[in-house]
Amino acid sequence: MIAEFGLAALWLAAALAALQLVAGAFGLTRRGAALGGIVRPVAVVQGLLALVSFLCLIYVFAVTDLSVKLVAMNSHSMKPLVFKIAGAWGNHEGSMLLWVTVMGMAGGFVALIERRLPEPTMLATLAGQAFVSLGFYAFLLIASNPFERLSPVPAEGNGLNPLLQDLGLAFHPPTLYLGYVGLSVAFSFAIGALVTREVGPAFARAMRPWVMGAWIFLTVGITAGSYWAYYELGWGGWWFWDPVENASLMPWLAATALLHSASVLAARNALRAWTIMLGVVAFSMSMIGTFLVRSGILTSVHAFAVDPERGSFILALLAINIGGALTLFALRAATVTEGERFALVSREGALVFNNVMLSAILGIVLFGTLYPLVAEAMGAKVSVGPPYFNPMGALFTVPMLIVLAVGPLLRWRRDAFGRVGKRLVIPAMLGAAGVIALLVIGGVAFLPFIGLVLAVGLAWASLMPLRERNLRRTPLPVWGMVIAHFGIAVALFGMSSESAFSVEKLVAVRPGETTQVGPWLVRLEKVEPVAGPNWTALEAELKVRYKGSDPVTTRPQSRSFWAPPQQTSESSLLTRWNGQLYSVLGGEAEDGRWQLRLWWKPFVTLIWLGGLLIALGGVLALIGRVKSDLRRHIARDKIADRRESQGR
């Protein structure tokens, strides 16, 4: 019953999206102007209906209604409740329903509160949002109905992949999806502005909070995903340049560029066409990412060719949405002038430079991710991994980070390096000190070397915009910028330190034996069986000592899940201010010795701390912008009130 209710809500939401599209389009014409009035309420109701449908899916998962095919395929009655709920979006159909829900809610939210832009632009924007949504509703209802029933009803479900039964991962997809789909709002704004030819600072100010919000979620999502891979996969890696990871990185790169170019447009009325283009590209990257992850093409091009229904559907959606947007852009590009001019050495100049660098990195990641698929389609298999992405990415990242250190200190329009040179003496000296220190230590590979030196210089330079400012009166967006840029330096330091200074130890030891990894002494006390709600495990008790301080106990596990039967290693992490001890229990050898994998990873935690700082910077900037918007709004209302009372 609940499942049918959810399906009905989904159909209704799709119908309302169609209505929203038609009413929005007619609302733009003179004859249909009256229709325009219904667009906003329709958008709100559409979002709510999608939410109702999604809640129905969560309900059938929570009660493990095995007559629903999706539940039977992906859930199990013995799972903890939180993973039953998370299982609702841990599969193809559920995640696509989450996608349309977020998209509908975002559209409804825009319809509800965004009142700064001229109404025709808003109508075109909401019609654009409805158009994209409609494609994904069709995809769900035609090719991946999440509420399909199953007969006969099985006695038990198949269970959820144990790797996914982890709190961090349970909430990772929704976070990323909020980011992916939040960018659809930027896309729709870009379409709306193109249709009505209203590209200017007001448009950028209206779009910016949505991009910022989506970008914050993407940043948190990527950071959390990286940490999950780090501790859950049990080999201590935190970024693999895996296509699935790249799929989340590409929208982030585009959104980062968009965020900065929208700031230039808002402040200086420049970079109009470029901002629109990035708005289209950012959401296109979200859709390409979804296509890569959801079509099955990554497992094998041939698997995709055998069962192409879903993949082709998404591919068609991609072609229609991206192709349509680019065509519109080409038609209107001539009428959208670039706006105000500026010199190379200026705030805008630095921002443009870094926009181009970000776009180039995006190009490399996109091409390196897609090329193996193209090659496979042509009959040859190649792999593209870290040895390609790291140096090729660095080609553009290094100049970008240098400009990032200087850019925030420059004035708008026109400036001279001589003026800011003084302030960069200390960062440059810090960098030089870093070079000397690393040469003394020796044996550090080229890229981590550059990374460490840049990180130290950038960390200092990123704080410079706060100099000569009254810290209490510094606007929140400036704080946000400083913290986010500092976060980049922190994360970069963590990444470089991890790859330069990690120590690995693989040993087989008997209980009672001691081994050493970096500054740690590790003693295996015993290995015991333990049990959880839906797994059993072997748990090792390790007594570890850091440079002669008191011993601490850490307990890595090797877990066996029942449904589906699968082995996972639960690494155990000991965090110190200067790094993490990472231990994993492997198998038992025949002579009673146990495999241990141990790593000492100096400053590795800075990677994710940096990621969170970047996101925090975004949050502060967002709060600052929204506050000043509200203040302006209230002031305008007051003036209107006063005029009215004076008129009387």
């Binding site: 080999w235 201590g236 990554l298 181009v356 040895p387 080609l395």
Partner: protein, 150 residues
């Protein structure tokens, strides 16, 4: 009343232990069979840290052919284990890492190496960054030459 939870505790713990024991009985042999690669250097490092580091950085750039998107350095699959052992043994024998890579590519194809080699098939991978640099320079020059004139 108050003694009830105390007396319950051991029982529930006993159940946990029994369940754990049952679970382990059924799982451990299976694990021993499918998980461990028995190759000598699958889970053993080389004595010489410099050689081990060489082997490690090579292993990180070789694909585990049975896994999905994992290098042989971070996989428990048997084939990854035997390939790790092969790499370590050859490095220990003094072979050059790139020679080992070429040998593996010859045997398993380009797919095994995460570092694409420059061939007639992969040249676009190297042309694209060069093209992007050119494009970036042209874009920035066009942009700022006009801006500078003003």
């Amino acid at each position: 009343m108050s003694s009830l939870p105390v007396s319950r505790l051991p029982v529930s713990r006993l159940i946990v232990v029994i369940v754990a024991a049952l679970g382990l009985l059924s799982v451990v042999p299976a694990m021993a069979q499918e998980e461990q690669s028995t190759a000598p250097y699958a889970y053993r490092q080389l004595e010489d840290p410099a050689k081990e580091e060489k082997a490690q950085s090579l292993m990180e750039t070789l694909r585990c052919l049975q896994c999905q998107g994992q290098s042989i350095a971070d996989s428990d699959a048997p084939i990854a284990g035997s390939m790790r052992s092969l790499v370590r043994e050859r490095i220990a024998a003094g072979e050059d890492p790139e020679a080992i890579r070429s040998w593996l590519i010859e045997r398993y194809g380009d797919y095994v190496s995460y570092a694409p080699q420059l061939t007639s098939l992969t040249w676009p991978l190297f042309a694209v960054p060069a093209f992007l640099i050119l494009l970036a320079v042209l874009l920035l020059r066009r942009r700022f030459r006009r801006g500078g004139e003003q």
